[in-house]
């Protein structure tokens, strides 16, 4: 089992969700986050006072998937979140030791 964590542009969230549903990912968790990468921030001006905004708003998508659809998952996110411009985000993949469905107590890939 793998944990896929993707940081994407906020307006790409719907496309990413659709792409993941299409390949059979059963659920995702979404968080609004802020951060910086190569895109850097921007400046805001209020009556001539300049503020540098270092952290830009992004969306973090977390999906727990079985190892056999990992490549499909990564590919789906990569395609659906891509705009070709700087700031499209990153995908992180880590091993997932255990998953438990709280209602039934199922564990492992059955709980995914």
């Amino acid at each position: 089992m793998k944990m896929v964590v993707a940081i994407i542009k906020p307006f790409k969230l719907d496309e990413v969700r659709e792409a993941l549903s299409a390949i059979g990912v059963q659920g995702i968790t979404v968080t609004e986050v802020k951060g910086f990468g190569r895109q850097k921030g921007h400046t805001e001006l209020y009556r001539g006072a300049e503020y540098v905004v270092d952290f830009l708003p992004k969306v973090k998508v977390e999906a727990a998937v079985s190892s056999d659809i990992l490549e499909l998952t990564v590919e789906a996110i990569e395609k659906s979140a891509n705009t070709g411009k700087i700031g499209d985000g990153k995908i992180f993949v880590t091993n997932l030791e255990q998953v438990i469905r709280i209602r039934t107590g199922e564990s492992g890939s059955e709980a995914l």
Partner: protein, 443 residues
């Protein structure tokens, strides 16, 4: 019994008519307020109330950080309530009474607690034998005193102690607002007699408050983290709503200052649209050219600057003169809140000095120019442009020196007695919870 009362009423009425008819034959007719004028002035008063709450409160509130939103709203509301009471207790009498030997500067105590002011007593207007109910005039002028005192808080928002502000406001209203209002607007007042023109309060309201705010910002000192931490406005839509309410309310402020529902009021009304529009556009274009983007805050700041500049000029200049005034004031105030403020290094949090004092000075001097009939103004007796501009400049100078001196003394005094500034940890926490025990937004 009812019949008897009706009979008595009829008898008294007839009797009064007889008496007044006799009086009319002997002397001039005692002028009676016109219902249209009275209605207009009550409506104008209501509009100026709208300027203060919620107008000014929201305009300022949106510009501070979220943690200080309620402090600003409380300060504006508190000052409005406080000055309203002080105005009817002694303010009106001192501002518009006859001060005898001191009449060049201040009124007297003859109308303390509105003594002798009844629904029947009247106040003069700009036309001979045209009067309005005195109570209407009292209420209209009350709102001017209240908004002027409330305007000042923008200079030291986000760090002043609420109790100290209330004490300062009462003192400043007494020692700066009342004398300046008397000198500019009351018969026998120094600037009034000199012929300084201030239609709706460019000196009395805007320069007066703007200078006090600057002195306050300097005496209290900069906000913690000023220039290092971001202090961006927390809710610009709120600021936009406030500025819009200011604009709407300003029709009462400017056109109401005509005191009669006449063509003069219509002129002030139209000028309050076009000068304002020109101010908004000129600030917007200045910012667009110099900083690359036309910001919403820039447009509404220009709008307020335009309103400030046209205030002394409203019923005196023509619409084209008003537009020129607006076109000038936008870039000048834009420079005042950015270049000037940066180079001098004071923290006038919400730019009361940069917009109200600087815009007020542009308006006061501009009034001396554009009142000229040759430039579409209404003209005044014995007008020469150089002479009038000089008179306007004296009015500005007197207001700057008076307000500056009184404000400095009062800020220092209040600081010594009770301290002007909140504790450092309270300032960091935000005044909403630290001072008022509540928060604006629960998320």
């Amino acid at each position: 019994m009812k019949k008897f009362l009706a009979f008595v009423a009829l008898w008294v009425t007839l009797g009064l008519i007889n008496v007044s008819a006799v009086a009319a034959e002997v002397t001039d007719v005692v002028p009676v307020p016109d219902k249209g004028d009275t209605t207009w002035m009550l409506l104008s008063t209501l509009l100026v109330v709208l300027m203060i709450v919620p107008g000014l409160a929201l305009f300022y509130g949106g510009l501070v950080r979220a943690k200080n939103m309620l402090s600003v709203l409380s300060q504006v509301f508190g000052i409005f309530a406080l000055v309203s009471i002080l105005w009817v207790v002694y303010g009106y009498s001192l501002a518009f009474g006859d001060g005898g030997g001191l009449n060049w500067m201040i009124g007297d105590m003859s109308k303390l607690f509105l003594m002798g002011v009844t629904p029947e007593s009247t106040a003069a207007t700009f036309t001979d034998n045209v009067v309005i109910p005195e109570l209407t005039f009292v209420a209209f002028q009350l709102t001017f005193a209240a908004i002027t005192t409330a305007l000042i808080i923008g200079g030291f928002a986000e760090r002043i102690k609420f109790s100290a502000l209330m004490v300062f406001s009462a003192l400043w209203f007494t020692f700066s607002y009342l004398p300046i209002a008397h000198m500019v607007w009351a018969t026998g007042g120094y600037l009034f007699e000199m012929g300084a023109l201030d239609f709706a309060g460019g000196t009395v309201v805007h320069i007066n408050a703007g200078i006090a705010a600057l002195v306050g910002a300097i005496v209290i000192g900069k906000r913690i983290g000023y220039g290092k931490e971001p202090m961006a406005p927390h809710n610009l839509p709120m600021t936009m709503i406030g500025a819009s309410l200011l604009w709407v309310g300003w029709f009462g402020f400017n056109a109401g200052s005509n005191l009669e529902a006449t063509g003069g009021a219509a002129l002030a009304f139209l000028n309050t649209i076009v000068a304002t529009a020109a101010g908004g556009l000129s600030w917007m274009f200045a910012e667009w050219m110099l900083r690359g983007k036309p910001s919403m805050l820039g447009i509404v700041s220009g709008v307020v600057a335009g309103l400030v500049a046209v205030t002394p000029a409203a019923g005196l200049v023509g619409p084209m003169g008003a537009i020129v005034l607006g076109l000038i004031v936008g870039p000048v105030c834009f420079w005042a809140v950015s270049g000037l403020k940066r180079s001098l290094g004071y923290d006038d949090s919400l730019d009361v000095f940069g917009i109200h004092a600087v815009g007020g000075i542009v308006g006061a001097i501009g009034t001396g120019v554009f009142v000229s009939p040759a430039l579409g103004g209404v003209g005044i007796d014995g007008y020469t442009m150089g002479g009038q501009v000089m008179t306007q400049a004296i009015g500005v100078l007197l207001t700057v020196v008076w307000s500056g001196t009184v404000s400095l003394v009062l800020f220092k005094l209040v600081d010594m007695v009770m301290g002007l500034r909140v504790k450092e940890e309270d300032e960091r926490e935000g005044l909403d919870t630290a001072t008022h025990g509540e928060r604006a937004y629960s998320v």
